[in-house]
């Protein structure tokens, strides 16, 4: 005789699912959205990776070897590092090496195109590049699609994507900032690896003479040399053949390895950052759905107490009840996950189609759906469903058979003493850990652990907080219906808390980012405020790797104006200081101290000459430097020079850690550009007057923006707003899932209170009043969730800001953006009202007689 237990449980689960299909809709949608997000992210990541892979491989197919400098200096924060140049003439020598078919110098530099309307193209993330047009098509990753190659000075080939973005056509003349403005005529349009460009990177190809003139510091230099092998010579054989012909500090690598390095640079860094970022947000979405699902099952089990008790009374084993409930959860999870998989793949396919339409050249290629992107989301969906339903299922199994005889119990779980104690202890430990990690020896790990504990404490204390919070928040609510709403929300603090927790987590993450973003801005604001002593700033206003910087001739030209007292340019250089890669600020240190506030200066900033440098106090302390001491600098060209520390200054916010003169940097420089020109006006010159004069000069140098101190501070923070917008868009999904959770719980509650609602309608509650009652209950729950999220997110933001301060060297400001947070709060409340729309409508549609008659 077979054991009937499992089939019986499954039959129960199936009949229950069939009977309560609508109640599982919220759960279904929550899982679907989470899984779809996850699948979409994975599929898109894989597809992009594969596309870039094939794009780079295709583009560099003809390049069998790359010869380049072996010296790289990697300054902190510059992941790629800066590689030294090679001698361009080396190409001709290499071309004569046996086994080599051709060798061409490749010159790469920054070059930002101006669009037909004079605005700069790109510069908001992806690099803006320029280089020499290589005539050997096998060695040139770009292919001419239209027009011809540049043959005369001032002619350029532009990649098709950039030309589209700039509104440029063949024959058009525009300006290329290198950073000195160069007038170029577009004579050809090019493609890269079959696409309109390498992602959103813009590229302009010049004649070799132009490229050497504008993109290299010294004529005769090249970035690398591309080599093509003769017939029958493999890439490895080619590299081996080249080796003896190479000077010191120059290396040869196979073309395949060069392509791999390029792919690694894009997919390894940019793409994994991108997908990790998206995965974090799908994680948030999944977490939020877990709370919604848990709540749905908790409510269902509570409502089903009598049913389960009856089952137990007539002989169902505890295990059968548990298995039955879990089977229900897994069935919903499986169906929703499968739908989510399809939706996720659909979203990825949609984005692939959409991206080119909005100007982002998504590389062509088939959608890559790996086993991982199918199995992982499915497993997550099932695990979340089963995990969330586990506790309610166990509770269902514990139903005493006698409960069948009692009146239906409304779930009133929530505020047990054990919960208060556990939550309290957890919160205390969390706060202690955070304080230790923030105020004591700064430790990001300790702070993060504390933050995680704080989230757990909030979840545990939720029901306790819910009854207090709803009472307080509901106090201003007047009138019978709002009073009823308040009491309904208070009825089951456990349920209210669980419903609100999903929203709380969503709002907390939003708040965390908002607070962190505002703090970053405030920090920049303060930095500019404290350290910028000039009147206007001219900056390359860029974000990420884009832009071409400012012409080094701009500062002297501005300085020559009668309205201007001092104009000093700050350029960027790199060198190894005592073996450690460091960023150098290339400037006129003496003039710099008149436009930037460097704080207290020990020693003298004047007359650093070609062998002197100035160091920021913090860096000097950690590197053991002091005025009069010497240190060795290694540059990217492989040379080493001994420098003497002539001054130590206090503030490094804008000036950076090391100051060297232009004369000292000149022999080692790469493409010459400034990142900032700080200007202070002569006495008696007004801001507008001075700015007008400076703007006029700047126009001749590629029209960089001339900004007041406030504008400069604001534009420095421009990237933060962009980032926040993206974060908000991604979090919208989590908040949506949380709202679905509120809707779902309300629907279940309305169902549970059918008789009460009937009674209310009988004794004179109008439909509008009933709807308002449901709506206010929802708003109260949302208000609690939003408030909790604001508090939790604010706390986590503070932790993050303090912990960042601990790990970084600059002072970090903590800011609470009132307006933004008030907006978040309002959106939360409004969303609560929206979440109630459907349950309220359903409640109002209730027929009174049926409600009264309901058993």
């Amino acid at each position: 005789m077979r054991t009937p237990s499992a089939p019986a449980s499954l039959r129960l689960a199936r009949s229950s699912l069939g009977a309560h299909r609508r109640r599982f809709l919220g759960t279904f949608v929550a899982v679907l959205l989470g899984v779809a997000f996850l699948t979409g992210t994975l599929v898109m990541g894989d597809t992009l990776r594969a596309s870039f892979d094939s794009m780079f491989t295709g583009a560099s197919r003809g390049t069998d070897a790359v010869v380049r400098s072996a010296v790289t200096v990697i300054a902190p924060g510059d992941a790629q590092g800066t590689r030294g140049p090679v001698d361009a003439d080396l190409a001709e020598r290499l071309a004569r090496v046996p086994g080599v078919a051709a060798a061409a110098p490749r010159i790469e530099g920054a070059g930002q195109l101006l669009a037909a309307d004079g605005t700069p193209v790109g510069g908001k993330g992806p690099p803006t590049l320029a280089g020499n047009w290589i005539d050997d098509p096998a060695l040139n990753p770009y292919r001419l699609a239209e027009g011809r190659a540049p043959s005369a000075p001032g002619e350029a080939v532009v990649n098709r994507g950039a030309a589209k973005a700039a509104g440029l056509a063949l024959g058009d003349t525009t300006v290329l900032r290198t950073p000195d403005p160069v007038r170029v005529t577009v004579v050809g349009l090019a493609t890269f690896g079959g696409a309109d460009g390498m992602g959103q990177v813009t590229w302009a190809g010049l004649t070799r003479a132009d490229a050497e003139r504008y993109l290299t510091a010294h004529p005769g230099e090249a970035t690398s040399i591309a080599v093509r092998a003769g017939p029958g010579v493999s890439q490895e054989e080619l590299v081996a053949a080249l080796a003896p012909a190479l000077p010191d500090d120059v290396e040869a690598i196979t073309g395949q390895r060069a392509a791999e390095e390029n792919t690694e640079m894009v997919s390894g860094r940019f793409l994994s950052l991108f997908t990790t970022f998206l995965l974090v947000f799908s994680g948030v979405a999944v977490l939020v759905s877990a709370f919604s699902i848990h709540n749905t099952f908790a409510v269902l089990v509570a409502q089903r107490t009598r049913e389960n008790a009856l089952l137990r009374a007539i002989g169902a084993a505890r295990r059968q009840v548990v298995v039955g409930t879990l089977a229900e959860a897994l069935t919903v999870g499986l169906l929703a996950s499968l739908a989510g998989l399809l939706a996720g793949i659909g979203v990825a396919a949609g984005l692939q189609a959409l991206f080119p339409a909005i100007g982002f050249p998504f590389p062509e290629g088939d959608l890559v759906v790996t086993g991982t992107s199918l199995v992982l989301p499915l497993a997550v969906g099932l695990a979340v469903c089963a995990g969330s339903a586990l506790l309610p299922a166990v509770r269902a199994g514990r139903t005493a058979p006698l409960a069948a005889l009692r009146e239906t119990q409304v779930d009133a779980s929530g505020t047990s003493r054990a919960r208060v104690v556990t939550g309290g202890v957890l919160l205390a430990v969390a706060v202690g850990t955070v304080l230790a990690g923030v105020l004591g020896t700064p430790s990001l790990w300790l702070a993060a652990t504390g933050a995680a504990l704080a989230v757990a404490a909030f979840v545990v204390l939720g029901p306790v907080a819910a009854s207090v919070a709803v009472r307080v928040l509901g106090r201003p609510l007047r009138g019978a219906n709002r009073g009823l709403a308040r009491r309904n929300a208070l009825r089951s603090p456990g349920r209210t808390a669980a419903t609100a927790t999903a929203l709380m987590i969503g709002v907390a993450v939003v708040t965390l980012f908002t607070v962190f973003g505002a703090s970053l801005k405030a920090t920049m604001d303060r930095t500019v405020d404290r350290s910028f002593a000039g009147d206007v700033a001219i900056s390359g206003a860029t974000f990420g790797a884009g832009g071409a910087g400012l012409s080094p001739r701009l500062a002297p030209a501005v300085g020559a104006l009668p309205e201007v007292d001092t104009a000093v340019g700050l350029g960027r250089g790199v060198a190894e200081v005592d073996g450690e890669g460091r960023a150098l600020t290339v400037t006129d240190p003496a003039a710099l101290s008149r436009t930037l506030d460097l704080g207290e200066v020990r020693g003298s900033l004047t007359g650093l000459g070609t062998d002197g440098l100035a160091v920021a106090a913090d860096e000097a302390a950690s590197a053991g430097l002091a005025p009069g001491r010497t240190t060795e600098l290694t540059f990217t060209d492989g040379t080493r020079h001994t420098f003497t520390v002539r001054a130590v200054y206090e503030r490094s916010d804008l000036a950076g850690d090391y100051l060297v003169t232009r004369e000292a940097w000149a022999p080692h420089r790469t493409q010459d550009s400034d990142t900032l020109v700080a200007v202070s006006f002569a006495d008696g010159v007004g801001t507008e007057e001075g700015r007008t004069a400076v703007t006029e000069v700047a126009e001749r140098y590629g029209q960089p923006e001339v900004q007041t101190r406030e504008e400069y501070a604001e534009s420095s923070a421009g990237g933060i707003d962009m980032m926040l917008t993206l974060v908000y868009a991604l979090l919208a999904l989590a908040v949506l899932i949380a709202l679905l959770g509120i809707t779902n719980t309300l629907t279940l509650s309305v169902h549970e209170r059918t008789r009460e609602l009937g009674l209310l309608r009988a004794v004179g509650q109008t439909r509008a009043q009933l709807r308002a009652m449901v709506r206010w209950e929802s708003v109260l729950v949302a208000a609690f969730g939003t408030l909790g999220g604001l508090v939790l997110g604010g706390f986590l933001g503070w932790v993050l800001v303090r912990a960042s301060e601990g790990s970084g060297d600059s002072a970090f400001a903590f800011a609470v953006p009132g307006v933004q947070l008030a907006t978040v709060a309002l959106v939360g409340l409004f969303a609560g009202a929206v979440a109630a729309l459907r349950p309220a409508r359903r409640a109002a549609r209730l027929e009174i007689l049926r409600a009264i008659a309901t058993e």
Binding site: G479, R487, E756, L759, L760, R761, G764, Q765, I848
Partner: protein
């Protein structure tokens, strides 16, 4: 005929039902719950509506109270034809002019006794006259329970709260639907006396649906329904007379077969017809 009866005959009707027809379902499943009932419920009188299960007595009450609508015919509260009101007006009419006492689940569990009593006024947005409230609370004897929740009260106490709520708004009429159906005999008796006393002392109008002859005996007049038709009325009823009438009526109309229009006639003892155990035995509590 007593003088009281004469006075009652001449007063206007609080509630009138004219040619009331209520049909549920269509075709084969069609059920005529009310089949042309015309009846007046005069002001200041306590009327009981009797009839076996399925006789249409609850439907009559629901339609007269604006909880349900008639298929044809008219239900009037005073001069107001309920059919002319939309859902909102009907709701406001129930709130302001009608009181309800249901068989069970009369009170909101989240509200205190006092709040339950004043619920209709609260929904209307005005406060209950303090003096009036006190008088009612004292009448139902719940002064010391005002701040309790319904779950802390016995069934009888809960029904008394419902009675208090029904009268608190000074309604034109109070409808009671099996108000003692869920109570033991003593609690039921208390609630019925409360209803009767309130009618006599304050001149209220009460319409009570019941299947229990003992409960009906508390009324000034009993009307009998069977198969959706008004079949008889009785003034100054006693439990025995009502019971006799019910029995006589059964033998007259039902022989266990079907009535003319095809309805299954209810031949069971009315007291157990609804499945309610006979907690109120006629002999046990009748005066």
């Amino acid at each position: 005929m007593t003088t009281t009866e004469k006075r009652l005959r001449t007063v206007p009707a609080a509630v009138r039902v004219v040619d009331a027809v209520k049909v549920y379902g269509r075709g084969d499943t069609e059920v005529r719950a009310l089949d042309g009932v015309s009846v007046d419920f005069p002001v200041g009188r306590f009327t009981a509506v009797m009839g076996p299960s399925g006789s249409g007595k609850s439907t009559l009450m629901h339609c007269a109270a604006g909880l349900d609508t008639l298929t044809s015919g008219a239900a009037l509260l005073g001069d107001t034809d309920l059919a002319t009101l939309d859902d909102r007006r009907l709701t406001l009419l129930r709130r302001d002019r009608i009181g309800f006492v249901f068989q069970a689940f009369n009170l909101l569990p989240t509200l205190t006794v006092a709040e339950n009593i004043t619920l209709p006024s609260a929904l209307a947005g005005h406060t209950v006259d303090r003096e009036r409230f006190d008088r009612i609370v004292d009448a139902v004897g719940l002064r010391d329970r005002l701040h309790h929740r319904p779950s802390e009260l016995s069934g009888g106490q809960q029904q008394r709260v419902a009675v208090a709520r029904a009268f608190a708004g000074d309604p034109d009429v109070v409808f009671a639907d099996e108000p003692t159906g869920n109570l033991d005999s003593r609690s039921g008796e208390e609630v019925l006396r409360l209803l009767g006393r309130t009618v006599r002392e304050t001149g209220r109008t009460v319409v009570m649906v019941t299947h229990d002859p003992v409960a009906a005996a508390h009324a000034d007049e009993v009307i009998f329904l069977a198969d959706g038709r008004l079949v008889d009325r009785m003034t100054a009823p006693t439990a025995d007379r009502v019971l006799d009438r019910m029995k006589a009526f059964e033998t007259a109309t039902g022989t266990g077969a079907r009535t003319g229009d095809g309805h299954p006639a209810d031949t069971h003892d009315p007291r157990s017809a609804d499945g309610h155990p006979t907690a109120l035995t006629p002999g046990g509590v009748s005066p």
